[in-house]
Each structure stands twice: as structure tokens, then as C-alpha cells.
């Protein structure tokens, strides 16, 4: 599977898991960002759209004006975050993830992974 196929699949799985989760929908019902993701070691670019606690879409490329842009060191890290294997906050705090936009939104991404994969 190519980088983009793998990333897109992970992002869509993440989207589905988010939308199935009542707690995520409730806690993030006022969070409506357009988020751009990319990775330093790859051409992979993704756009993630949230609206009223639901992940509306995860698509290839950078579409629209993002409120939040997150750059991972590697495409593997990006896939790992969408798969619940990587917490974005420590990588952000250690300077490995670059964020443009409202910094506290990274914590919201982390909170989503924490709720979806509570056993982590």
C-alpha cells in the first residue's frame, strides 16, 4: 500500500471510530475545525473536517483554509496517530510535531485518541 493509501485508510478508520463514539461527539460538539495534516518525509497531505462533534470527511490533499495545520516528522507517525499508537501531545511538547493554529487544539486531538483507545 502506498503512503497516501495507508494514511487515508488510517484517517478514515479514525473518522469512523470518532463518529461511533458518543463521548467524543458530546465533548467536541463545539469544535468545528478544518485540519491539515502532512509529514516531513513524504508528500502525503490530508484534510480532516470536523463539525459539531462529528468527523465529516477525511480526504487527500490540502483543501480550504485550515484552522489547524499539523506536520508530523514521518508519515508513519501520522498513521500511528490515526491508529491510536501515538499520542500527539508529547510529540508536540517535545517539538517533534509542528503546529500552526491554536496550540490547545493539539490537546483535543490527543483527547480524542485517549477516549477512543482508553486502554492505551
Amino acid at each position: 500500500m502506498s503512503d497516501i493509501q495507508e494514511s487515508l485508510k488510517a484517517a478514515n478508520d479514525f473518522k469512523d471510530k470518532m463518529n461511533e463514539n458518543v463521548k467524543v461527539r458530546k465533548l467536541l460538539k463545539r469544535w468545528n475545525p478544518l485540519i491539515h495534516f502532512d509529514a516531513k518525509d513524504s508528500d502525503v497531505k490530508l484534510t480532516f473536517k470536523m463539525s459539531e462533534g462529528m468527523a465529516v470527511s477525511a480526504e487527500e490533499g490540502h483543501v480550504g483554509d485550515a484552522e489547524l495545520a499539523v506536520t508530523f516528522p514521518t508519515v508513519n507517525d501520522l498513521v500511528d496517530m490515526f491508529s491510536g499508537k501515538l499520542d500527539p501531545t508529547p510529540m508536540y511538547l517535545s517539538g517533534d510535531i509542528l503546529v500552526k493554529g491554536h496550540q490547545a487544539d493539539v490537546i483535543k486531538l490527543d483527547a480524542i485518541t485517549m477516549i477512543i483507545w482508553p486502554e492505551k
Binding site: D87, T89, P90, Y92, S94, G95, V99, A104, I107, D110
Partner: protein, 417 residues
Amino acid sequence: MEIKPSEKKKDLLHRYAYRFGAMRVRTMSHLGLDIFETEREGCWSTDIDGRKILDALALQGVFNLGRRHPAIVAAMKKGLERLDLGNNFLMSEEQLTLADKLAATTPGNINCAFFSSTGSEAVDLAIKIARGYSGRSGIISANECYHGITGFALSTNSNPDYTEPFGPLMPGFSHVPFGDIDALRDEMSKDTAAVIFEPMIAEAGLLIPRDDFFSKVRELCDKNDTLLIIDEVVTGLGRTGKFWAIEHSKGVVPDIMISAKGLTAGMYPMAATMFTEEVADFFLTYPYCHYSSTGGSDLGCVVASAMIDIVNRPEFLQSINEKGKKLANGYEKLLKAHPSILESYGQIGMHTVLRLADPAGGFRMNRYLAEEGVFALLATNNTAAIRIQPPFVVSEKEIDQIIDALDGALKKMKIKE
């Protein structure tokens, strides 16, 4: 140095996350600040795992006199022999003594006071008094400010991290860039009850306005019949080398001043809203409009009085200025050693901030400083800034340790570039 928690600490962290919030624990762990304090004395505290931490923040002024200052502990013990909260429906000699001592320090005729438990409450009261006294509703604060977490105080804040989930906030609040007198003039209207500013804003990377800023603000307020509220919660009680930071603006007399945090030297929750005799007239018509059952307790007043006796002496304030200069000398060396990492610093008395080139570098510096055994904190409204505000009782040797730790942390920042 990697900080590995013991099994006992892991268990405490797990339970703490359950009771007080998992994300908070996770973030603090990543910052190297997942510390359960046990012993605490002077500028030092000890983690439950035995690790000693040198305090370079003083909890933004709460621990201005360090931890468990002997004279403060003694005053509290003595007070405990005969006092408690006090009955706030009645009068209190302890409150009166503290109000006298505060009035001897404040500029102009700020001779009246009301005591509460926290800075946020004290800010809320200041805004209530301003609205009640003026009959107007407009409150102007700085974009970069932080004045507290309760109703009116929160509404002065423009940082969405604090306000976003709680909207709509109180009506009538607006913001201007700190230090911009033209913006303030444009924002003022016939409905402006008060302008509330800190004398300088460490939360934003230590913004220090031009020398004549506050005299111009005073002028504007006078012209518009608007009250000037100065929040000295962080800057007051000696932090900037003068007892009140507004004293750096010669001749400026606010209408209302607020103090909290270090007022009781970290031994008791207490805050003060202090105001002029003219503003106090408001309470002639509304004497019981504001109340606090636990605020201004007799015990707290005794402790606060002891704090003032220690700090409000010329030689003590002089020592703060000297220690501030020693910190600044250290920062100059760090600037030369790490020109691409450390952009600048701000220093006035022992109110100091380091500004990093990386816009989010404060998080990493926080972690690296914790690894070096020093507790400091990034500025809430500027993630490129690290606040260094050690207790006034810090020794020369401990200042050297703080500078060495900063040097070590900046080296790690360089490696990460």
C-alpha cells in the same frame, strides 16, 4: 536525564488522573512536572520519589518568600493559638491592622480595602465596584492579559484557552493591545466604567509599556470619568523591586488596586481589593452588596501583616533588585552562548522572562529545565517565553544553579534544532 517514576508514584499518578483529570496528568508528565511534593523549605521542594526541585517560579508570586518562611510559620502558629476565620458579620481588629499596613504602602489615597480568598474574587469585586460606582458597564482590558477565572475576571480575558467553552461571557467587555494608548483612546466611550491593566504582563512574555504609558492612561481615564484598576496580583509585593509595580510610573494613582497570591506568603488563601476614599463612597449606599464568609479571615490577616513587615523594608527591596541584576547578568551570558535559541530576555527586579526563538519552545524548555532539577513555567499567553521568577529568598548560589540549569536546557534545545 530521563525521569522514571517509581511504582508508588505511578500508582499515585494513575489515581490522580482518575480523580483530577487524565489529560492534566499526561501533559504534566510530558513536561517533567508530574511532581508530588513532600518536604518543602525555602526555594526547594522534594518529589515523592526523592528528587529535589529548585523553584524558579514561586508560583507566580505565591511563594515570594519561599516555602514555609520561618517568620510566616511563626506568625501563623501564634495566630492559631487564639484565632480562626473570624466572624465576617462582625468587626475584626486583625483586618483593620492589615488594611492600615496596606494603606501605608499604596499610592495616593488608596486607603480602603475589602479582603477575599482569591485574586479572581478580588478582580470580580474591583469590576463590581467600578460598575456600581460609575453607573456604567464598559470594561476595557488588554488583549494579552490574565486577570482570573471567575465571572467578571474571566470576561476580561481574550485567550480562548480560558474562555472558549464558557461563552457567552459577560457583556460590556472589550480589549486593546497592551501599551497602545491610541487604541485605548479609540475604545473608550461614555459607557466605559473602568480600564483594568497589570503594570506589566509576564504571561505574554513580560510586556513592559513605555515609561509614560500609565500617566497617559490616567489622563484618559480622568478625562472620561473612567476608573483605573491596576492588577498587582503577580507584579506587586516587591516582585519588580518596588513594593507595587505601578510605583515605576511616578505619580500615577489608580482608583482600585488588587493584590493576592503572595499576600499571605503561600500559607493561607487571601486577596485584597484596595480602593480610594472616593470610590469607597459606593459602599455608603450598598454596604452589604458584596460579602465573603471565608475571605479576609483573621488568621490570614495576621499572616499577611507578617509578610508586609518582612518585604516592605528598603533593604529587602534593594536585595530584590540586586538578585534581579544577578539573574540578568546570567541571562546576558546565556544570550551570548545560545544566540540562535535565546532571542532576548525581560527583567525588572526579580520579574524576569526568557524569550526563545522557537514560537512553541517554552514547552521543551519546561521539560529540559525539569530534567535539570528546576521548576519554571512557560508563559500562558506566549509559548515562546519562560517565566523565571524565583522566591526573593533565593541565594546567590541558587541563582547560579538556575542559570546553569537554563544553560543545560538551552543546550538540549540546540541539539533538537
